[in-house]
Subunit: 407 residues, 2 copies
């Protein structure tokens, strides 16, 4: 991709900032105290694109939203709850997800097939519909920061911080705003793990092209993070583009198509990294860059294997420059390469060259590893393939959170 | 396999019990205090079979042992150290491994190409050869329990217990003894992870048939355990059969061939389960049985995915019957099945049938999960494939051990 100068990161916008979007989040009673019900609405039906979990078990709300995305290509609102995943809940679960869709549509006075549904939380428990339906009646989305923050909080499970990002770009001379919010933070691994991502933009684009743009960047963003290797039954990223920026309709032939895709890429990558950094119990973001692989795909495979290795993750938690574990992970990744050509760096320190260890300052590296963002670089010297992956360290808190999740 | 009645588990034998085997283990100085150097010897050259790590990075000692196994098919002794893996140590590492082989051969007065070498410990550090070579001079293997226990202790890294098992069977009217010892306990995952296994028997068999027997049971034993998904650069399982039981040479046509294979299987499965149970920081052995898969291979894949899931492992550590995590792992395993046909049990309690949750007593299940051995059963209802996998829970101690391993 060539750099497009009009794209600009802006920190002060939110998912309700693109023209015509409103959001809110409240406590309805699925959780003890915290917010657990959220709504995102566009003034007009928006083109929609979505990517969904590859798990064979797919939660009821996910099936409902998939249906909206795949059949109409338009979405005007999405209702989201935390506290219960409505997954493996059989026919009752499907009925409940459709009821959520129906009641939200009635409340908003729109067609149910314009309403998506998302849920996150414990698997296998029937949804408490009474507080949820009462909650839907209490939702008043607004186009202000407060509404977007309420939404971001209400979709959280074990997340410790809300995750938001925004960008603007110019298309056909019109300012186009992009914003995204997401939640993690366990069961995160390739192919849409326990992750919910919502991206809004006022760009004007048809849903088939929006879907193509989202698909083209999913592998290098949302599918390039891992927290624990587990893939959830619920997770999805949905992009809504309502066209209110009034640019000419975007297609791959549009002169500013790349600008659109790059901005979507930037929003997605920001959200993905925030999810990785806020992995359950995490204290550090780990970025692994692989260069010189046979293909980009192989590079990403190596990067993900390294960033997902429990032994690498615990070593980094302990600020221990135990690069042998990086080597071991590279070696079992399934990628083909000559072990005698491998180069490994942590931060700026060269640790391995031509497959052999080289001396380094333990003290310098210890100080580097104590930081909250750690970079590992692997050079395979096999070709031009490159890739990035993000993850987090494995800590006492991960065990604590997950040994007691339902309690 | 049909049951062979002559096979009998015997607890009082050890790797020095089959006729003509001797063992020892001492402290030579690679570790601070603990034993770190071990030797296993047969009075006569033994037929040998081995399976080795699939990691692209292969440690120097492993390459030396592989050469012995693959070129001569005979081994008379194996020298093993802990404290240093001699992996990613380049040309110096290869030279050091050959020196270990050579000096052990000299000490025993045998041909170097009858001597295997194995190492386990930190990757990427050059071996301290001085204490090691002095140590080799101090090795006096004996055919008594003390020698075998010294060996079992000296190969340990973060293992908390020695791992030993023994069986006897009868072939051609002769008593044949089998014994095995192994070490784990981190970097344990498919395909020969950080695991060293040594099996001795006085059976009479050629190395090509011994290799075939070992290969036939590796996938369902050593390759069916996982501690943390990491695969080491060093690990191997070696079987030595010295023929001193004086049975007629075993081949697949021998009427008691199955008896031989089953006994080897039993030794291997015992060692594999002991390694899983003593995984780093583990408090519980988890056994996952998958039935009704399309193939046995697919069944094992599902079983290994479940037993390797960090979320399942932490839930079991917390005695939490969070079966949704089992469902999620089954669903991402890559196996093909209908989610509406799945049945899941923990212990004897049915939790999911036809893909839907069924009520169970939380209290009973909590009490069951507090035990040290936990069984999960998954029925896919797709075919006749079945498989087992073993692993352990994920605990605070795993993090503690691995955040500080090199310190």
């Amino acid at each position: 991709m060539t750099t497009v100068t009009t794209m600009k990161s802006i920190s002060y916008k939110n998912i309700a900032s693109p023209k015509g979007f409103k959001a809110t989040g409240i406590h309805c009673g699925l959780k003890h105290k915290k917010k657990d019900l959220a709504l995102l609405v566009s003034d007009v039906p928006a083109s929609v694109a979505g990517v969904f979990t590859t798990n064979v078990f797919q939660a009821a709300p996910l099936l409902v939203t998939k249906e909206v995305v795949q059949t109409t290509g338009k979405m005007q609102a999405i209702i989201v709850n935390s506290g219960n995943a409505n997954s493996c809940t059989g026919k009752q679960g499907m009925a409940d997800a459709y009821t959520m869709q129906q009641k939200t549509a009635e409340k908003l006075g729109i067609n149910p097939n314009l309403v998506g549904v998302a849920s996150t939380g414990v698997i296998g428990e029937i949804m408490k519909m009474e507080p949820l339906l009462e909650g839907i009646q209490k939702l008043y989305p607004i186009d202000e920061l407060e509404g977007a923050m309420g939404f971001a909080q209400a979709i959280m499970t074990t997340d410790t911080v809300t995750k938001n990002t925004s960008y603007k770009t110019t298309i056909d001379g019109k300012e186009v705003i992009f914003a995204g919010t997401a939640k993690g933070s366990g069961m995160i691994e390739p192919n849409m793990a326990t992750m919910l991502g919502f991206i809004t933009t006022d760009a004007n684009i048809e849903s088939n092209h929006l879907q193509a743009a989202l698909k083209s960047i999913t592998d290098v963003t949302f599918n390039s993070i891992t927290v624990d290797g587990d893939t959830s039954t619920n997770d999805m990223v949905v992009v809504m583009a309502n066209g209110l920026a009034e640019n000419n309709t975007l297609t791959p032939d549009h002169p500013e198509w790349e600008s659109f895709v790059q901005t979507l890429h930037a929003v997605s990558q920001d959200l993905a990294k925030m999810i990785a950094k806020d992995g359950e119990g995490a204290t550090k973001l780990i970025e692994v860059e692989v260069q010189g692989a046979a293909t980009d795909e192989e590079a990403r495979k190596v990067a993900k294997t390294v960033v997902g290795s429990p032994l690498v993750k615990t070593a980094i938690f302990g600020s221990d420059a135990n690069w042998g574990r990086i080597i071991a992970a590279v070696g079992r990744s399934g990628a083909k390469f000559d072990p005698n050509e491998v180069k490994i760096k942590i931060g700026d320190a060269n640790l391995v060259e031509k497959g052999e260890p080289i001396p380094f300052s333990e003290e310098d590296l210890f100080n580097y590893l104590k930081q909250h963002e750690v970079k590992i670089t692997v050079e395979l010297n096999q070709g031009d393939g490159q890739g990035l992956a993000w993850g987090c360290d494995l800590t006492y808190d991960y065990v604590q959170i997950n040994a007691t999740y339902r309690s």
